[in-house]
Each structure stands twice: as C-alpha cells, then as structure tokens.
C-alpha cells in the first residue's frame, strides 16, 4: 500500500512565523496535492504539483507557497502565518493524471496547525 506521511500531527506557531509542512509519499506518484479542511467548508485545494519543480495554484493559494524538489516530497510553506490559517492540512498523491478519477487519492493523516 502506498503511504503518504506528513511530518507533524500537531503544530502550534506564532503569528508572522514562517511555517513548513512536509509531505512524503513512497510509491513514485507523479501528482501531489495540498488541501485544507475547515468545518462547513470541506476540503479546499491550495496547490498541486504534477512533476518535480512543477506547481499549480489551487482554489485558495493566497498566503501559501510550495516546493517540490524531489518526486517523493511536497512541501507547503506559510510565508507569514496568520490566525486564519489555523486549520487541518492534508497532503495527497495519485499515480497518474486522470488516475484519481478511478483510484482516488491517497491522503496523509493530516497536520493540525494552530496559529496563535
């Protein structure tokens, strides 16, 4: 089974800090995604990447950036954390473009980020 690992389950950061959320997958998947989950809003796409060094904005990219230097690792960066970025962050991957339609994404367990 493919595994998607997020480095931290819980994080508490101060307003204005630069925050790195790390995600690693172990099955050579091409596509990786970052979502945030908020009550009443579901999962919203922040950024995704379909290849090393490639990135695309999702629906809510403001205040975030990403890095994909290696195929297995996709990092989400909060340049200057704010309280409205307090959320559950979920990383996901899928093998090929279009594959998610049939096989779905594999998600990590999530990182609960609190910005104080």
């Amino acid at each position: 089974d493919v595994k998607v690992t997020q480095s931290s389950r819980y994080l508490v950061k101060r307003t204005g800090e630069k925050v790195f959320l790390e995600c690693v997958q172990d099955m050579d998947h091409e596509n990786m995604f970052w979502y945030r989950q908020d009550p009443g809003l579901g999962l919203r796409l922040i950024y995704f990447s379909y290849d090393v060094k490639m990135k695309e904005k999702g629906d809510i990219p403001e205040g975030y950036s990403v890095s994909r230097e290696k195929k297995e690792r996709f990092s989400l960066i909060l340049e200057s954390a704010s309280t409205n970025q307090t959320s559950m962050y979920l990383c996901a991957s899928t093998l090929i473009w279009g594959g998610a339609s049939v096989y779905g994404y594999t998600f990590g367990s999530g990182t609960r980020l609190t910005v104080v």
Partner: protein, 110 residues
C-alpha cells in the same frame, strides 16, 4: 463558486437501516464522481467512484447513484453499521483534480 455541495451537515440512522447521503454539483465537466470517508485524526479514504457516463455503481454495501439531468448523486449504505460513523465527502473529478463538498457527518446508532 461552490461546485460541489452537500446540503446536510449531519445524518443519524439506526444500525441495519439504509443511510442515504446526497450531493449536488454544478460543473458539467466533471468526468468522475467519488466518495470519501474520514474518521477523526485520519486522512480521508477512497470509498467508491462512478463515471459520468454511468448511473449506478455498486461495491458491497455501498452503491452510488448519479442523476446527470438533476446534477445530483447519492451514496446508499445498506445495511448501515456503527463502524460507518464518519464524515463522508463527495467529490467531482476533472483530470486528477478533485473538488470536494463540505462533508456530511453520518452517525449510525446501535
């Protein structure tokens, strides 16, 4: 623009009965629809999908129905079990990009 909408935040059913979770969408370009299940402190897990050219897909206790003219899909769970208690998300697929609804909390009472 909420392309995928789940209007019921919660649903409670008795063990052994049918659970019906509903989802509406606006984007006619979705080629697949998927359902995910999420337990607290875990990532969502893929449950079942349906192609936009089909109207029904069944996998064990789970059946998804698609009504394209109404832009509506539903997930039926029969019989419901206490272990099915979770948040269920529907999603529309375009390429490998998924757009999720808000989620419905299903509670199955013993």
């Amino acid at each position: 623009d909420q392309q995928v909408k789940q209007n019921s935040p919660s649903l409670s059913v008795q063990e052994g009965r049918i659970s019906i979770l509903n989802c509406d969408y606006t984007n006619s370009m979705f080629d697949y629809f998927l359902w995910y299940k999420k337990y607290p402190a875990e990532g969502p897990t893929f449950l079942i999908s349906i192609s936009s050219i089909k109207d029904k897909n069944e996998d064990g206790r789970f059946t998804v129905f698609l009504n394209k003219s109404a832009k509506h899909l539903s997930l039926h769970i029969v019989p419901s079990q206490p272990g099915d208690s979770a948040v269920y998300f529907c999603a529309g697929s375009s390429g490998s990009r998924l757009t999720f609804g808000e989620g419905t909390q299903l509670t199955v009472n013993p």
